[in-house]
Symmetry: C2
């Protein structure tokens, strides 16, 4: 998996250049061209900086050069701020000069359509020709706070504090807002990258660079769409769980598909590509998806400053009941547990706290608590083996020594490896305490729910890190050649949609459990096949031209003997020829009638961005009315498949309820894993639906009753 | 309905006293007794204030009296801060003095258990004897910012700004936190009430007082439980929708029931009393339930400062794409619609804005927009008939004149009656603009999602106000006497659980649609009843002693003729007598077998707090596995019943899907309304389940197949 981190282009010239040329540096103090030059110069950049401007001798006292070609030394990074039409020419000069990194600030590319699209294609081509790593165009720039570099190559006026958070944004304006917000909140950054149009360097390239960046321990992203979906998935998965020091990735994925699109249909084809798919992808890559900038930084503060918890058990220490109840509610809402304090802790608390205090979790120190009581109680829960994480609450009462309580929290937090977060509710009265917390790496949240939500994000990351992992199972009892032959034959007949018998044959080649079946072209063959299979049977017309078979008399169920089969064959042929004159008839499909089980659906759709996506849901009403389905990127491991099944709301039906026996979930898992392998082996398959996959009780397996396969465009 | 607002006790002496005595006013500057006295004195109270303290001549330069009896003038309100054991005696003196309002700050009552419970009962008794309205005990006090009163009768140090928000809290500490928070956010209050233990005055009494309070236009509540549930429901409903000027009520209901309780069972009995019931009650009373203090004030700011929208169509005006996309996502998430601007607006915008601007909603004025562009675009969307509400976004770009943009928003907001809210993203750079917005009643939110969520809260309130309303339908074809006779007979036999025939008879008396049925005590009677009803029939044993009839052979289905009925009768009697020796056998119930329909469940449970609660859900898996049920307080109107049915996730099944015909929803509505009437008429019924109510296709009605009725304890 670590091979996912192989860089496509080296981003070192962008992040840590020894020398920078600002091409388009300007004498006009209100211009972007001057503001970027000034920001690099005044930001304390530790390298050589050259302004390039054919109409100026110097800019802000620094000697200027008419073109990059005339810059005396080597240049690692070019920041380009010239009008869009001349960017290609400038970039070409950069290439000839040996520049290996470029940040194109200028707008006027893909985002304006028309000629802009061609222009963007051109600069991508030039960058590739010369091996330049190009950020942008149409971006705000790049900031690296590493003291060894100290580069603000952006037109955001202010260099942020150094910190351990990297922020990658597809919106430049959001960077300026975030910088201003972070300043108010004392939040520091390692790197900030405004990606702009992502003509060359995209989100995955930047993630690869940040994977091994020693300054970065948490990565925040604002995304509107992914440029390299599959690669993003693989890179993110490695960063969040395979590195020696995994790094959490928190992402806003904005631009959800209108909810309406969902209503249209519920099959794999229609649901894929939607926001549900992004949701699944991000979850499967270990990326924590959030909804707002506030969440992004709320969680980042906790990840950056506090150790990860070992489990979900939360202790709440408070001087007021109301906020503690809100925290306890949030604890349940966000999937944590209220810690059950040990008897030792409780009795020690009881002997040390006033009688009115509560020594059960939430621990209520009551309104007149001062820092000594907080320190005592926090010290005890820190040591309690039943506690994994701590939320401290304070309301500003008359007796509360806010600043001292904050200092006590800081002291305790240094003692042990459990995460601790604080909520000092209020504004003015609590501000001296909040300041102490901020300065000492104790995440502070204005409201109890926020604090618990941040702890829950940490716990979710821990669950991700510690999830049991299985390898992708490779089935050796499959016949890839046979499947490909069938596909070739369909291609040869210029079709994309497989006939049902063809689809079943492919599944047979992959050793799916199929209900006994056969095909026949005459009444006699039909009778023979039915006798071999065993009664009762169903008969379906085989025709590439008939979609709604049922409506034209092309499906007859529950045929109990040979004679009925013969009669049914004749009746079907007559009805179909009357109702669909001219339709090609390739015979009939005979299938044994299935015994009763629970109907499920499994499916695959090849997504443009992510490759093969697998789908699972319960059949009928559950998928069609309740839209209760789930997605994963292939390949899936057995545990992934099991999680897919368990993640639908209606999963409890498979577990057995009200005396019904539990269903054979293992059989579904196996089918999903076989489908995963088939999807990777046969790239010609665009969509595949098994509907229904009938599942029987535990130990009795599952069986494919019907399948639909669509090939990719030839 | 307005009779709900009849006050139980007059709260005028509490909120607007002409004179106050602080009993327990103290010379110790660190005591609560002094701090309350000081807060009233220094807060500019416009009335006479007397300290009462037997061991002091004066307190803070004001002449003190040894007891309330010796205070020279009349006293409207006593604020009591003496130790709990002497509170009863002090309160009794207040009564004798003619005091009509009391705020008991002292703790040491119900919350400490034991003697505290008895002490609390005593003070409630004394208060009732003298007609005193008593707030507390164990509370922070009461604040009224009305300039004609200006009373801070609390130990929260700071008098808040005057404003139009009333805050009622069951947590005193939360009041101090909220006061401090509000000061930071420039939020003003009309009244603040810390309710404490609610020995006498409870949430409903305070709501009644606030209903007609001209200073209050929005009511915020923090509740841990309701003391007068049914009354709260009725009062809140009037305040939120029947007043000439309805007032929104926003509430945190903390202390959710552990999720685990839910898993236990899914029938009416088990689910009632849970958080789901509170959820239903609050919704049905028009109370907007929120999860956090942040939401409470986010929404209140919008309600207090902006007009209500006429519909859900939101226009977004921005200088940056990213935040606008986040706002658009939130728009969908919170149930609003992106407004479709008129052609006129679009063409006017096009001719006035630079070519790179987007004139579709979201309207993107692009990064270099100054206040003139904002003012122009805002003016146009204000006038656009397709727009109901506006969210303005700003990110601090180099060119942005933040303060001037804020002033432009203020100018536009005064022009028309559409709500407008703002998000200036950032911190320092945007703060001059945020200040202008705050000072001029434009709600400001740090993040785009928050702004949209607040608008959505307003729209939800508008939907509530403008909901179609029907009267409670009174069925005249019911036989109350007959139902009561049956209940009396069951009571006479010392049972609480009705036999099935008794339950069916009660439903018959209320004219529910029943499947034809009869009872029989002999094989011949059974045959006769079956012939009258028509075949096929089901037979069930009637016995008050047998719960699991099926398990003992007490249920036989699908009897097709007379002979089978006779055989079945004999077989059943034999099996039951073998397996349940000694069980009383009252004969058998014969029911016609139902044709296939969709199984639903309707139920009723008498809640201690709220009275009869009605329940609806689809049967089988939907209620048992998916817990897909909904509750309402009786009485329900027809539209309430319809909304109940539509509010379950599985409702789409009743609408017909995949070619299935739609079900007879009107028939369910009628059954729910009949159940509502029965619940109100027969208070002896504790629980009632109709399971299943089989529903047929539209026009073909529904039918009760089985019913279970439990009476209240005698």
């Amino acid at each position: 998996m670590m091979s996912a981190l192989k860089p496509r282009k080296d981003l070192k010239p962008v992040f840590c250049p020894h020398s920078i040329a600002v091409i388009g540096a300007s004498r006009d103090p209100n211009s972007v061209g001057q503001s970027i030059f000034r920001n690099i110069l005044m930001g304390g950049y530790r390298g050589v900086l050259y302004p390039v401007n054919p109409r100026a001798d110097f800019i802000l006292s620094v000697k200027a050069y008419p073109s990059i070609m005339e810059v005396p030394g080597d240049v690692d990074l070019a920041v380009i701020v010239v009008p869009a039409p001349i960017v290609p020419q400038v970039l070409d000069e950069c290439g000839r000069k040996g520049v290996k990194g470029a940040i194109v600030i200028s707008a006027g590319f893909k985002e304006i359509g028309g000629e802009g699209i061609e222009r963007e294609r051109r600069i991508k081509e030039i960058a590739d020709n010369y091996g330049i790593a190009l950020i942008g165009p149409n971006c705000l720039g790049v900031i690296n706070t590493d003291p060894a570099v100290s580069m603000n190559a952006s037109f955001a006026g202010r260099m942020p504090q150094a910190g351990r958070i990297a922020f990658i944004s597809q919106s430049g304006a959001l960077c300026t807002a975030v910088l201003d917000y972070a300043r108010g909140q004392n939040i520091g950054f390692s790197k900030i990258v405004s990606m702009g149009n992502k003509a060359d360097v995209d989100e995955s390239d930047i993630l690869v660079a940040l994977a091994e960046d020693p300054q970065t321990s948490v990565i925040l992203m604002y995304l509107e769409e992914l440029t390299s979906g599959r690669r993003f998935f693989e890179v993110a998965r490695v960063i969040t769980s395979e590195l020696p020091q995994p790094k959490p990735i928190l992402a806003i994925k904005a631009g959800r598909t209108p909810a309406g699109a969902r209503a249209a249909s519920s099959h794999t084809g229609a649901l894929s590509g939607s926001d549900e798919v992004y949701e699944a992808i991000l979850a499967q890559a270990g990326v924590l998806r959030v909804e707002s900038v506030e969440e992004l930084f709320d969680y980042a503060e906790a990840f950056v400053n506090q150790p990860l918890p070992n489990g979900p058990r939360l202790a709440i220490v408070t001087n007021a009941g109301g906020p503690a109840i809100m925290a306890a509610d949030a604890c349940m809402r966000y999937g944590l547990e209220l810690a059950n304090l040990t008897e030792t802790t409780r009795s020690k608390l009881k002997s040390s706290l006033p009688p009115a205090a509560s020594v059960h979790n939430p621990i209520d120190l009551i309104g007149d608590a001062q820092h000594d009581r907080y320190e005592l109680a926090l010290g005890m829960v820190m040591k309690d083996p039943n506690v994994d994480m701590i939320s401290v609450l304070l309301t500003p009462q008359a007796m509360t020594d806010v600043e001292e309580v904050a200092k006590a929290i800081v002291r305790i937090s240094k003692a042990d490896g459990k995460p601790i977060v604080a909520t000092f509710m209020g504004w003015y009265d609590v501000s001296p305490g909040v300041k102490v917390l901020n300065e000492n790496g104790i995440p502070h949240y204005s409201f109890p729910e926020q604090a618990v939500r941040a702890l829950s994000a940490m716990y979710n990351f821990v669950k991700w890190l510690t999830r049991p992992r299985t390898e992708v199972k490779v089935f050796t009892d499959v016949n890839v050649e046979r499947a490909k032959e069938i596909i070739q034959a369909v291609r040869a007949s210029k079709r994309r949609m497989l006939r049902e018998d063809e689809a079943l044959s492919i599944l047979e080649a992959y050793n799916f459990p199929l209900i006994p079946w056969g095909i026949a072209s005459t009444r006699e063959e039909a009778a023979k096949v039915a006798c071999e299979i065993g009664f009762p049977v169903a008969m379906k017309i085989l025709s590439p031209d008939i979609v709604h078979k049922f409506d034209v008399g092309g499906v007859i169920l529950n045929l109990g003997d040979e004679r009925s089969v013969i009669e049914a064959f004749d009746r079907m042929m007559q009805q179909v020829s009357e109702r669909c004159p001219g339709a090609r008839i390739d015979g009939v499909l005979i299938q044994k009638m299935a015994t009763k089980g629970i109907e499920t659906i499994i499916g695959m759709k090849r997504d443009q961005l992510f490759g093969p996506m697998l789908m699972f849901g319960l059949g009928g009403v559950y998928v069609e009315v309740l839209k209760d389905v789930t997605f994963r990127v292939a390949p899936v491991r057995e545990l992934d498949a099991l999680r897919m099944i368990r993640s639908v709301r209606s999963a409890a039906i498979l577990e057995g309820y009200r005396g019904q026996p539990p269903s054979d979930i293992d059989a579904i898992v196996e089918c999903i894993c076989r489908l995963s392998q088939l999807a990777l082996d046969c790239e010609d398959i665009e969509e595949l639906d098994v509907n229904p996959l009938m599942v029987f009780q535990r130990g009795e397996g599952a069986t494919v009753l019907d399948a639909r396969i669509l090939l990719t465009e030839a």
